[in-house]
Subunit: 682 residues, 2 copies
Amino acid sequence: MMTTQTPTHQTRPDTDVEMPAAASAAATSATHPEQLTELGEALREASGGRYGQVRALARATVPAELMVRDPAQTMDEAREWTRHTLKELVGLGMAGSGFPIEQGGLDDLGRSCVDFEMTAHGDLSTTVKSGVHFGLFGGAVTSLGTQWHHEQFLPANLAMDEVGCYAMTEFGHGSDVASLETTLTYDAQTHELVVHSPTPSSVKTYIGAAAEDARIAAVYGQLIVDGVGHGVHVALVPVRDESGAPMPGVTLGDNGHKGGLLGVDNGTLSFDQVRVPRRMLLDRYGGIDDSGAYVSDIEGESKRFFTMLGTLVRGRICVAAGAAVSSRKALSIATRYALRRRQFSAPGHDGEVVLMDYLAHQRKLVPAIATAYAHTFALNEIVERLQELHEVPEKDQLAQRELETRAAGLKALMTRFGNDTIQVCREACGGAGYMSENGLTTLRADADVFATFEGDNTVLLQLVAKGLLTGYREMWGDLDMRGMVQYAARAFGGQVVEATSVRPLVERLIAAAARKSEDETLLDRGWHLSMFTNRERHVLETVVGRLRGRAKDQDSFEAFNFAQDHVLLAARTHMDRIVLEAFVAGIDACEEAEARQVLERLCTLYALSSIEADSGWFQSHNRMSAARAKAVTAQINKLCAELRPDALSLVEGMGVPETWLNSSMLVEDPESLARWTPGATA
Amino acid sequence: MMTTQTPTHQTRPDTDVEMPAAASAAATSATHPEQLTELGEALREASGGRYGQVRALARATVPAELMVRDPAQTMDEAREWTRHTLKELVGLGMAGSGFPIEQGGLDDLGRSCVDFEMTAHGDLSTTVKSGVHFGLFGGAVTSLGTQWHHEQFLPANLAMDEVGCYAMTEFGHGSDVASLETTLTYDAQTHELVVHSPTPSSVKTYIGAAAEDARIAAVYGQLIVDGVGHGVHVALVPVRDESGAPMPGVTLGDNGHKGGLLGVDNGTLSFDQVRVPRRMLLDRYGGIDDSGAYVSDIEGESKRFFTMLGTLVRGRICVAAGAAVSSRKALSIATRYALRRRQFSAPGHDGEVVLMDYLAHQRKLVPAIATAYAHTFALNEIVERLQELHEVPEKDQLAQRELETRAAGLKALMTRFGNDTIQVCREACGGAGYMSENGLTTLRADADVFATFEGDNTVLLQLVAKGLLTGYREMWGDLDMRGMVQYAARAFGGQVVEATSVRPLVERLIAAAARKSEDETLLDRGWHLSMFTNRERHVLETVVGRLRGRAKDQDSFEAFNFAQDHVLLAARTHMDRIVLEAFVAGIDACEEAEARQVLERLCTLYALSSIEADSGWFQSHNRMSAARAKAVTAQINKLCAELRPDALSLVEGMGVPETWLNSSMLVEDPESLARWTPGATA
């Protein structure tokens, strides 16, 4: 486990994209180039962002067979396949970008998210297994460890010599990390940390790779030095020896069969007074010196806690990206099917009607495609921001908290949209959609857990609201209802709209729209932006008012709880504005005329769909007239019809190669179904 | 296959519930009685309806082990388990009620739906397998066949000596039954029917039991006599011999792995000029006489077609019931979990806060519980109506069409609600909800297909709209856009609200509410009823207006399609009113005071939730003021809080026994998790 390795960066000969050291010669194998429409190509280019070339390289490099798992596999078969496939993908350069350059990485956190996103186009078990090993374990060592930890553990991690797992969640506590019960107690006599599970509810559970593969765990627990608790810290603890047997004092369990992600061996871990050397503590932000005293450069347990948990940000961005890819993949399958499947004859029409021509079918798929584009731009923005902040030597704490808030919010938004959208797509394909060979049901089952792992969506939205209420000054810890209520009563100055690079453009558009009459503004971006901005501002201001009104309550839980739905609405409307502005910025950067025109339509459709969904709110808050509400619905139908002819290009532009779709019904020629062959008896 | 059997009805000794002949002595085995709260018991009683005792008997009779399948089974294991378990359940009297008395049944279609519903509390593969064999195959023989067919085929069906399948859907056409391509051609020389699959898209697919078990199929195809087509008819065709080998000319295939229902062996069937004797045609409504001429008592191909397809009504009611049970089961699991799971500490609160105390959690579960109750009453009503109409000797065609419309609508409504609700429940249980052992993910995967089988939901809602537009005079066939547009232009007289038994009460309540000022009516049932009634009427009237406006269009598809979303809204709002009125009727019949009070609250919550969801519509159509819209939301939160203390009773009242829930997390004592036991290594 303490081997080292010389970094051997390489640049792909056919591109100028640098590759992490883990990439092997296999990366030079190429798949067939796709045949895209011009518009599809242009949309893909426009939505590629800073890492567009990295995405293109993955599409050109990774063969379809690594992206498709047989859905009929048993759990054991799935685990074996996943193990094997992950190694192949790593050989193709799909991991390691986020590691320090000295250890063979590229020190590029943004790119590591894009690697995760590209892997997520295939089997999600492989993706999650990769995320646990490289992203969570490797990421914890990288960001919470020191040079010594990097040198000792990262080379083996990058080479996959020693599988790592991320032991945070316990039976008793998941999203409430501050309440974890596992203890890391310093024994000054032996200079060791004693890792212990004091209660049944402190047992680590749902830990990816714990059931079979993990040899070492990043264990979250309460650090206790000389009888004093210093809050949650992380220690590296070997959990299996080289033969795979549990280390002394470590009890390992298997979570067994799950609703999806069958290839990930989730399991349980508990510790009975397990001893590790002091230096196994990841002590970049807080540790124990030679005299046995706790030392930290960061003052205050709370601030230290959220600095350490800030490392979760990348995981949440990755989960958001995984969900976003799943939506795009499902929409690609359902749209391509809707373009070939015909049902019901219509008088005067040649043959039966193509599904995609029905208004009801367009209503299911086209606004969802628009939202998927919106999410792509919002993701590009946060991935780029993650790397920008990483590149700055002096950390801006407020900017960092804002990034974390946004990651939490996007994760909640995109995983919700993912689950809803994959289901819509499955149903839009009828009985065929239910057959595993067509790729939608496994996708649905696997992506499902994104809604609750890496932070439950409801808890994450509350975190967003807390960030807004406190100006990003207080973020982590428990829900802290008292804090939320008190902050609202005290410090909040109404500064809702933070500066973004696109903000001057947004202000200009809003101002221009304000000078027009209502009849003229339905398609006006400035009107959409002002609707989103005003909705967010009003919801937040009124939530502050309600919390203030209850600030003197004895029972701060009640004071918080009576407005919880309102708090969550504040978070959601904030995130909706962030996403719309990202879309506006993305269009602003697009130079190709036809793609730009289509993106403008999609953006309008996204904005109007959000306004339609909140039509009740806008009207009851006098932000929209009854006539305007009806006009919005009519305009959405009109936009669906206008975008219908570009349906294929729209899904091509979403960037999922057809060969990766894993859908038999798109491969079969409907006129010569193989199953029909006489003699093909069961 | 032509064995007969003497009916041996029996009455359960401990109740006065009659049992079908298939019930064996096993039916006397009993499970542990449940311990219910008084309120839970009273709610269960109030929502039991005419078949309450049948439900109670099933709860008391069927042991939990028959209701729980190991989710980790492979497809082959699942098929074997399902096969075995179905036989056990049949032995307990869970099938056969709908068969003629002469063949050992009870001639009770309503009860056969309740049998399906009770089976659906357990493994859904078993339920669907039962539904295919007894309900669809047996039902087709019963209702489309004559005395001869009954005597020849039903005893073997009831005894499960010969597994039947229902070969309707083809690759090319599912919901559009009129366009099926399989041909049933009469050969006057040999007095045989020639069953043939003329094209690849005519291959039967997704047929339950076709892959492995079926020996005989009810095959839907176009009947051709002397070169003339007479529309879709059904013939019985042996597909496997006693050894299980395909019959000559029959090609059988396996659909393989699916997104759920792994225990059902769905497969494909195709026919290469397969000959069966003429009498194998199910010819109750249309057949071929000895002279080789086509004869039918029903004039007109279209009327005959919908008379024959009317047999689908029971299947749709069963699917609605299966989805409704799945929702109730998921809500039972999630609510019971929310009552024991604590997360996040709150100042001044003892320990951490129980999930069920969070407003956001109440918002997820309590309105859904209210809707689940609403659906229970609506289902009771249609099940009872099905049997009432069956008992009437002279068929009332309009009443029959109305029943079919309602079955289609309830199926669409309840399967949509089921898929959404199970997912909400899964997420409300966090990571634990994703573990198969906790029962939610398998339920979700299995119930998923309900949204598209037995008729795609979008198509079914369109059918409802067509029924409304034509006063139930035109129902089946293709979407018939021309017909819909023309009917709207011509015959529609605005008769929206059909008479129901509860209608006089509804009218009284609406009239009383009309005399009150808006401030007084938020909780007034009359106001809720008038909101639902007016919404339905207005949507339908305006859809008629829009279709009329386009009636002269050359392109009747375009004329229909531009209003398709509006057409679907008409259907949905109609069904919403039907459901609310069923709830009102159910409360009206409840005599227990406390249960009645709780049901009133649930009904108000259901009504206000629907009004809140359509808040944009009500405001933009001047049916609700901005102030009222806000008051509705506040009142929903208040009702959640008021119902919170009764949460356990509410789920008990939904009638799913705790032992059938199949959820480890509800069995484990959270203080002593078995997994923690030292030494329990993987």
